[in-house]
């Protein structure tokens, strides 16, 4: 490999040809500040529009300062990253960025977690000259079911555009207009609701400022908790326990399952349940559906559509409803675990504790922003009463716990309540890419072959490769499995299905890179895939620790079928636990 020798801040270095100054400096332990640059290692994607101009450095012999994120190292370069000239320029640029930025930090949802705020502090900005003559931008605020866009706070870093287009291929956001009117928006500056947005929330996860934030439902939850006439129950998604600790200063990958349960109980929830229980239930329904279709296919029934696609991820459901409506009868009809939980809670559990479903409030803690939209979908309500009333993100839960003066670090380990809190290891691994299909394999294998599965860790289904495939031997029957995480990767598999090239029997898709552990509602990981890997490892640890690791062995699932649902894919199960999909692409509304 051809290399280049250069000097940065009086330190000598040798880097591969093509390396940018920013990367070379980082390798030497020099972090050049930036507001727009973002590198997503494992996705091989870089955002470097050289737009913020904060990362300017001085290159000896050059007249102008160079943006380090977009300038390649050259032989013999002598670079200085903190001369007076650089620092002055950086501060001036920052002052320009701040001149038309709202000064409502005190009440901004991103306060304390805002890269712009941190940068202003780092650069020691103490006044903002020129703000009295700067034309303040005045975009309207757009509130969708999941995401709030407050474009006055946009600094045009274009990270959201990168996530939406290059990673997710959703194409909802683009840079539009020019000059003072320049911003990032959906087509025709419509609201997100009228765009191809899937609410995956990856734009929110990378936004350096308060321009993109989630819709906060904690006030409604608080109100429900304070209402004595309501019984409030909570379900926690698998990925939450592997990331919540980060918001309390714990290392990425710290499991906080027991502490999280205690915190929720301290917050006043009447029952603390687990979405993992519903994940086990999903496996029963989805796995049975998979085997049904597979066996019909093997018998030569051409109406049995294969591959079957998983349907647990609402961002993914939104994606295929928009871009692949012609394939909408291919995904499993099984509802997502969140919605299965809601449906069972408001029927079976409400019956058990003898209350009306209207007096039962179901709250979900999700690593996800699309779940907020999902629980508001019309088909998931009965008589205007939602199966899941409110969905709040991992980040919102952390803020909620802090508001209640609870220190997560010092809590005892609590236990989930019965009956909807009991889960197997299969339910836990739903939180990471490959986990849903691994859980399905553990159950489907035993149901199909009637034999006991000896090996429970299907490492061939794990990992962070964007598209993975594996063939699992079902006692002589090879079952071909495809896995994609990130909607851009899903699109590759979907295009093959559409053109008839796909050879898979089952495909798992999760919208977010890494799966739910990298979800749009998780603590911000700033593109650092090591954090994602640590969370995945935590999920697999939790799985290994569970005494039961196959969904169909969950005693409360068995009891639920005996007492209530009869058997998987029964008429009652279909009514409560299955759904159907719609074509979502509507003509864009052109409003005055």
């Amino acid at each position: 490999m051809e290399t280049i020798k250069l000097t940065i801040d009086n330190k000598k270095a040798e880097v591969p040809k093509g390396t940018t100054i920013h990367k070379a400096a980082r390798q030497m332990g020099i972090e050049i500040p930036t507001l727009c640059y973002m590198e997503l290692h494992d996705l091989n994607i870089e955002n470097k529009p050289a737009g913020c101009r904060i990362c300017m450095v001085e290159v000896e012999g050059r007249r102008n300062l160079a943006p380090s994120c977009a300038t390649r190292c050259e032989e013999g370069m002598v670079i200085k990253t903190h001369t007076t000239r650089v620092l002055n320029a950086r501060r001036t640029v920052m002052e320009f960025i701040l001149s038309d930025h709202p000064k409502d930090c005190l009440i901004c949802p991103k306060s304390g977690n805002c890269e712009l705020q941190a940068m202003a502090n780092k650069l020691g900005i103490r006044e903002i000259p020129g703000q009295e003559i700067a034309a303040m931008s005045t975009y309207r605020k757009d509130t969708s079911p999941s995401i709030i866009r407050d474009l006055d706070k946009c600094i045009l870093c274009r990270r959201c555009e990168m996530m939406c287009n290059d990673v997710q291929t959703v194409g909802a956001l683009s840079a539009v207009n020019r000059g003072f009117m320049a911003t990032v928006a959906p087509a025709f500056e419509q609201n997100l609701e009228y765009s191809s947005c899937t609410y995956c929330g990856q734009c929110v996860a990378v936004c350096p400022t308060g321009a993109l934030t989630e819709v906060d439902h904690t006030p409604e939850v608080l109100r429900a908790l304070a209402d004595p006439s309501k019984t409030v129950i909570v379900q926690t998604a698998p990925a939450v326990r592997a990331a919540l600790g980060e918001e309390f200063g714990m290392a990425p990958g710290t499991l906080v399952t027991g502490k999280m349960v205690s915190a929720l109980r301290a917050l006043g929830f009447d029952y603390v349940f687990d979405t993992d229980f519903a994940a086990d239930l999903t496996i029963m329904e989805e796995g049975t559906e998979l085997l049904g279709r597979l066996n019909r296919h093997l018998k030569g029934d051409t109406t049995a559509k294969l591959p079957i696609l998983t349907s647990c991820c609402p961002g993914w459901v939104n994606f295929f409803e928009y871009y692949y409506p012609d394939l909408k009868d291919i995904p499993s009809t099984a509802k997502s675990p969140q919605q299965m939980f809601g449906a069972i809670a408001k029927t079976y559990f409400a019956g058990k504790i003898k209350i009306n479903r209207k007096d039962l409030v179901v709250v979900s803690i999700m690593p996800c922003l699309a779940k907020k939209y999902e629980c508001q979908r019309d088909e998931f309500s009965t008589e205007n009463n939602r199966d899941v009333d409110f969905s709040i993100s991992t980040r919102e839960l952390a803020a909620f716990i802090k508001q209640a003066n609870i220190d997560l670090n010092n809590l005892e380990e609590g236990e989930f309540d019965a009956p909807l809190g009991e889960s197997t290891g299969a339910g836990v691994i739903f939180g990471t890419t490959g986990g849903v299909i691994e859980a399905a394999v553990r159950t489907a294998y035993e149901l199909q072959t009637g034999k006991k599965l000896e090996r429970l860790d299907f490492t061939e289904l794990r990992g962070l490769e964007g598209v993975r495939e594996a063939t699992i031997d079902f006692d002589g029957l090879p079952v071909r499995i495809g896995i994609a995480h990130g909607l851009g990767n899903a699109r590759k598999l979907l295009d093959d299905v559409r053109s008839g090239k796909s050879q898979f029997h089952a495909i798992e898709v999760m919208a977010c890179p890494g799966g739910c552990i990298g979800g749009g509602g998780q603590p911000l990981h700033h593109g650092n895939s090591e954090i994602i890997k640590a969370r995945a490892a935590a999920i697999y640890t939790e799985d290994r620790k569970k005494p039961l690791r196959k969904s169909h062995e969950n005693p409360f699932i068995i009891k639920l079928y005996e007492e209530f649902l009869e058997k998987p894919n029964s008429e009652k199960a279909h009514h409560l636990l299955h759904t159907h999909y719609f074509e979502r692409k509507k003509k864009i509304l052109v409003k005055p």
């Binding site: 909802a172 840079a175 087509a187 025709f188 052109v590």
Partner: protein, 161 residues
């Protein structure tokens, strides 16, 4: 943003598809495709952009981004008599801004807008190469030189019949 909602006729859609095909439905040719579409329709309403989006497999948000970035592209139809005021250096120093203000006042229009009867539209441009006649105003293909704010009323009158 455009406030005009139009219904594309079948032949309009066919025309857009024909333009896209002539560029091999290549997304790299987006700007050329938009040029041709604007040449044909006179402007680029949202509905046209949607068809181009489907044909070139480019998200419609991206297309809108391009349309709003380049000042040549417009989402509002030009008037029957498009009025352009030169704001190039020579015209500007000789008072083009005052002439533009007068047009705005007389027609009750902002730059980039069209009168509700579709008769006039107002735009500014940079240098028509007639600096000796500064300030210069163009109405359609006709050029007016050394225009003073007082002349504006009469210029408009010529076209009001």
């Amino acid at each position: 943003m455009s406030s005009i909602k139009i219904e594309l006729r079948q032949e309009d859609v066919a025309k857009i598809k024909e333009i896209c095909t002539s560029f091999g439905n290549d997304e790299q040719e987006l700007i050329n495709v938009l040029h041709k579409c604007q040449e044909h329709f006179g402007y680029l309403p949202a509905e046209v952009q949607e068809v181009v989006s489907d044909e070139l497999s480019v998200p419609v948000a991206k297309i809108y981004g391009v349309v709003t970035f380049y000042s040549f592209f417009t989402m509002t139809p030009k008037g029957k008599h498009p009025i352009s005021i030169c704001m190039g250096t020579a015209c500007y120093v000789r008072g083009a801004e005052k002439v533009l203000e007068e047009f705005k006042k007389e027609l009750r229009l902002q730059v980039g807008q069209t009168t509700s009867d579709g008769k006039f539209s107002l735009s500014s441009l940079r240098c028509v190469g007639a600096c000796g006649l500064a300030p210069v105003v163009m109405v359609g293909d006709k050029t007016y030189g050394r225009v003073a704010p007082d002349d504006v009323r009469n210029i408009i009158k010529e076209y009001e019949k």
